[in-house]
Subunit: 341 residues, 2 copies
């Protein structure tokens, strides 16, 4: 194959740390859409910790196969007419994978009603923003005055979860991986406090930042940070299990993650831990998007975005994300916005 | 002290396995009730895994001190007049500890409205029955046709939880520690299936017993059994964290318990794990007791009871309970029922 469709393949599945060597570059043909499919051009690709989790085995979706185009979702422009829902020129959220062109089933596409910058439809108004919204409000249910702790708080989901908790009147404490991020959480996003998970005194730092204990913990990382926070939880506290990025390079996450204090502390403190997956809330996306877009417009919600330029940057973008390099929603710009500005 | 009030003291706190050597026998005076106290005579003492957990450190109650009367609740007869709520002759649920006589604060006592055998007020209608009721119905929320798995299913709480799940139309699978108990669950309590946690093929046994997966797991044991069941849970399954008896002899349970698959499986399957403690439902005790008493009367609920005779049997009763010797609610008869039969 030496066609015009640039692609990045998952060459071999990583055992442990993901590196560039696990990927390869290819050039395929521009595919011919089948019945009930349309041809799509990739504009922006979303880069998420989940990309790494998908390599590990069957999760809520099938494992990514070796030698295939790396899986991923993003914003696309539809190039051929589909049905009454999707015609040429439409902007959609879909799963083209890491390539410039893909033929995608019409029913797998979600039409984007452009509200503001196209990147916002992958960040605050996109799947990670919606995950923060439903995870925090449906599972975490913070009350005004309660203390909410968010890990990976400068990340795509955490930054939105923490800001929504502020909007709901909670005291919000962020955990992030560098002094720069800690500062950003306090100064730019208005968190009440922020601590670094690399601090040797993380437990004491958290105790100091949460003098009234923790009512809601929005967990994006699992592992040691989760274990450190569980003993700080107040009676009837809630843990939103949204991700376990600290574990994704250690083997199949569903099998290997281990948390000390479970179920002991859950019983003592009558805690609730609950997993969240965005798929369960499809019917309520429009309402949530409207509310998020309103907050964005009012300036109550800041969109933290981290855009890498060019399809070829995607492997490094993901590798760096897993190290915590990103600030906010990381995405890769693959092609131009048809209506920029 | 060499008075007429026989007592059993917790002589030394166990490190690891509890033995008789951790207890001693004493004879104290019959205490003089202070203001707002009444003198109580112990009739039945409840023996619970929680007794062991209380020795391990601060839990939802203070740690039991060495050299003091061993803590425990039970059914007492009030011997002196208190206030309008409790007068001499009343039967109450209270916390006399392991002794024949205790002066107890009136406000700590719960008046028993005698509905049937006095032992029922410690078993099906007592704290363990109520824990099963609220834990299953409030946290587990089984729907008709769903599969409910209960561990320590021949125990005080498990036997009631499983039977309530049957009443609610669920398919009920019990886990117990011997072939005799497994048979009893199937034959006497009407469970749909039962397996032994000592089986070397526990995971396969459970898979076979739960062909449609597990929707609710009522967990009394924690540890390996919890880890075995988590991967069998269906999407949106619920784990009622009621106890962790497999861990109580391994050190402070809140700190040391470790469960593989948390939070990984919670995220993948959107599971909810939630701790339950009866104290949170005090206001609804009467309603629950009435419903349980109705089922008992109708014969839909069987009271499994395991009564040891004499205060001096209490240490062995608890030691044996932690080995799983009991069938149903274990209690110790300390003195006669004032209105037997």
């Amino acid at each position: 194959m030496n066609g015009p469709n640039r692609q990045i393949l998952l060459d071999t599945r990583p055992k442990g740390r993901l590196t560039r060597r696990h990927f390869s570059v290819a050039s395929g043909d521009i595919p011919e859409p089948g019945p009930d499919e349309v041809l799509c051009r990739t504009i922006l690709l979303s880069v998420d910790p989940a990309n790494r989790a998908w390599m590990e085995g069957v999760s809520y979706r099938a494992q990514i196969a070796e030698g295939q185009v790396m899986a991923g979702y993003g914003v696309c422009e539809v190039l051929t007419d589909g049905n009454e829902r999707v015609a040429a020129g439409a902007l959609v959220l879909g799963e083209p994978g890491w390539q410039e062109y893909a033929a995608l089933p019409v029913r797998s596409l979600r039409r984007i009603e452009r509200r503001s910058a196209l990147t916002h439809h992958l960040s605050v108004l996109g799947p990670t923003g919606l995950t923060a919204y439903f995870g925090l409000l449906e599972v975490g249910r913070p009350q005004s005055g309660e203390t909410v702790v968010v890990s990976a708080a400068a990340g795509a989901t955490g930054s939105v979860a923490g800001q929504i908790a502020k909007i709901k009147g909670a005291r919000v404490v962020g955990i992030a991986g560098s002094d720069e991020k800690v500062q950003l959480l306090r100064q730019r996003l208005g968190f009440d406090a922020a601590v670094s998970h690399r601090s040797p005194t993380l437990e004491e730092d958290l105790r100091a930042a949460c003098p009234d204990g923790v009512d809601v913990y929005f967990d994006n990382v699992g592992g040691q940070v989760l274990e450190t926070i569980l003993p700080l939880m107040n009676v009837h506290g809630r843990v939103v299990c949204c991700g376990a990025v600290s574990q994704y390079e250690k083997g199949p996450v569903a099998q290997t993650t281990v948390t000390k204090g479970v179920p002991g502390l859950l019983i003592m403190q009558r805690l609730r831990m609950e997993g969240i997956l965005l798929l369960d809330f499809v019917k309520r996306f429009r309402v949530a998007e409207s509310e998020l877009a309103g907050w964005l417009q009012d300036g109550r919600l800041v969109a933290l975005e981290d855009v890498c330029d060019g399809l070829e940057t995607a492997p490094d973008a993901l590798i760096g994300l897993l190290r915590g390099d990103n600030v906010g929603k990381r995405m890769v710009r693959v092609g131009p916005d048809p209506e920029p500005g």
